[in-house]
């Protein structure tokens, strides 16, 4: 198992402020109504921006979670 960082949106809390997409543009873009669309996995060099986006969310709707992704067995 390899740990990977994912951004998770709490949709009930999210109000579409859009600050996250400005702070972490490599991981988050906004949809046609201004709500965040997050990439599946946060790239390693984007971790600091992603964390800043989470910290800056006025609704506390964005969190960075570590998930274990099964590694495909080597042949």
């Amino acid at each position: 198992m390899a740990p990977q960082l994912h951004l998770v949106v709490d949709w009930i809390r999210c109000r579409g402020h859009g600050i996250c997409a400005e702070l972490a543009p490599e991981a988050i873009v906004l949809d046609d109504w201004g709500f965040p669309m997050v990439k599946a996995a946060v790239p390693h060099d984007g971790e600091r921006d992603a964390q800043r986006a989470c910290d800056a969310c006025p609704s506390s709707a964005l969190t960075l979670v570590e998930v274990d992704v099964p590694v495909s067995p080597k042949r």
């Binding site: 949106v9 949709w11 009930i12 999210c14 949809d31 109504w33 709500f35």
Partner: protein, 426 residues
């Protein structure tokens, strides 16, 4: 005839299991008849045995997702006073299986819930119904009054008549004293459900099968149907006006199910599989399908709570999709941005496509919106709208072009928009 009347004709392919004892369309299997047909309720004996027998049976949840009930039991947190919830808040406007199960063979559902509750030492069974179907509530109340000495207390909770109120986390929230609105996951109900207690929630039909598995065993249950999803399944076959509930073994060709209900794919303009959050398919495509969850899923199809809706030949699936998506947009719980903002735009875009000449850009925009809202919310509601709309836009490029040129003349509204389902007030 009241569209939601308990009167709904039924039919069986093979030997009846759930529908055993029903002979005329008006039959209700009362408690005495129920015990004559099925024998007295047996017990699983222990939680370990419940888990083992259900895993051996291969019974998968009949609420749409198809999660094995045995695995749900295995994941149930081992804390005191768990709760069993029968989700019978049938909100699918085209489905009648809960009306038939609870209105006509209610003791099978109650037995199954009690058998599970007894084995896990639950403190109560909650039967979650909704206010939009008062005859069903009345039938369950009458059935409970007939029973004596049940091992676990059973009570009815009536949720609001709203589409998303039947979603599992919304049901648990309402039963716990909150609003009937979806909550974020995790936690799963098996960990923290009704009032924070470990909860086994499943569809009414799942419990009805469990009532027969505890009596006859796992090998009996597996003796019909496909290996990956054994047993029989209830299906509602409808043209939007008449509804027939059919019990058939999994693996049965869809065309046989439809024929048993008195319909045929050949006469349909299009087929909506899986209800209003489902997928449009062509009659030709349906002719080769069988009741096999895995095979259907591989074709991008699903039957949801078992719905096969035949669109009459004088109706248009794009117009139906516009009306249905407008209704679904109004059924949002109003909590999540992409659903609140996206669904009305999608519905308005579909209305344009269905009713006036448009350019290909209109269809592309609706498709992009459908992609954007998919999977982005506390519940699966926006994803259901996405599925419906994308399948409609993809069904026939020729017919879409016909609409873009303003040439479709079909104006008849075939599928019902339930009036008793109020939109959420904000």
């Amino acid at each position: 005839m009241n569209a939601h009347s308990a009167f709904c004709s039924t039919g069986v392919l093979g030997s009846p299991r759930l529908l055993a004892g029903l002979n005329t369309p008006a039959d209700t299997v009362d408690f005495a008849m129920h015990e004559r047909v099925h024998g007295p309720l047996a017990r699983f004996g222990s939680r370990a045995n419940l888990e083992r027998v259900l895993l051996d049976s291969g019974l998968r949840g009949r609420g749409g997702a198809g999660f094995p009930l045995g695995r749900k039991i295995a994941s149930l947190a081992k804390r005191r006073n768990p709760v069993v919830v029968v989700n019978a808040s049938e909100g699918e406007p085209l489905s009648r299986k809960d009306v038939v199960l609870l209105g006509r063979v209610p003791h099978l559902v109650i037995d199954g819930a009690i058998a599970v509750a007894d084995a896990i030492d639950a403190s109560e069974v909650v039967i979650y119904l909704h206010e939009g179907r008062p005859e069903t509530v009345e039938a369950v109340r009458a059935a409970l009054a007939e029973r004596r000495g049940d091992l676990v207390p059973v009570r009815i909770v009536e949720g609001p008549a709203r589409y998303v109120a039947g979603e599992a986390s919304a049901a648990i929230s309402f039963i716990s004293g909150g609003e009937a609105l979806p909550t974020k996951k995790p936690p799963q109900p098996t960990d923290r459900g009704v009032r924070g207690r470990p909860t086994v929630l499943s569809n009414a039909e799942t419990f009805a099968h469990t009532a027969l598995i505890v009596r006859h065993g796992a090998p009996w249950f597996r003796s019909v149907g496909v290996e990956s999803d054994p047993g029989t399944v209830l299906l509602t076959v409808t043209d939007g006006t008449t509804h027939v509930v059919i019990e058939a073994p999994t693996g049965t060709p869809l065309s046989e199910v439809v024929a048993r209900a008195g319909g045929s794919f050949e006469r349909a303009a299009a087929v909506l599989l899986g209800g209003y959050a489902g997928t449009w398919a062509t009659p030709e495509q349906c002719a080769s399908l069988t009741l096999d969850r895995n095979a259907l899923s591989a074709s991008g199809l699903a039957l949801g709570v078992g719905q096969i809706a035949l669109l009459p030949s004088d109706a248009c699936y794009l117009s139906e999709t516009a009306r249905i998506s407008d209704w679904l947009a109004g059924q949002t719980a109003g909590q999540c941005g992409p659903c609140v903002h996206g669904l009305p735009d999608i519905a308005a875009g579909m209305r344009d496509i269905a009713t006036r000449p448009t350019t290909t850009k209109a269809a592309e925009t609706v498709w992009r919106w459908a992609d954007q809202v998919d999977g982005r919310g506390a519940c699966a509601h926006p994803g259901g709208v996405s599925r419906l709309v994308r399948s409609a836009l993809a069904l026939s490029p020729e017919h879409l072009l016909h609409h873009q040129r303003g040439l479709c003349r079909a104006s008849r509204a075939a599928f019902p928009i339930p009036v008793e389902f109020a939109a959420v007030q904000h």
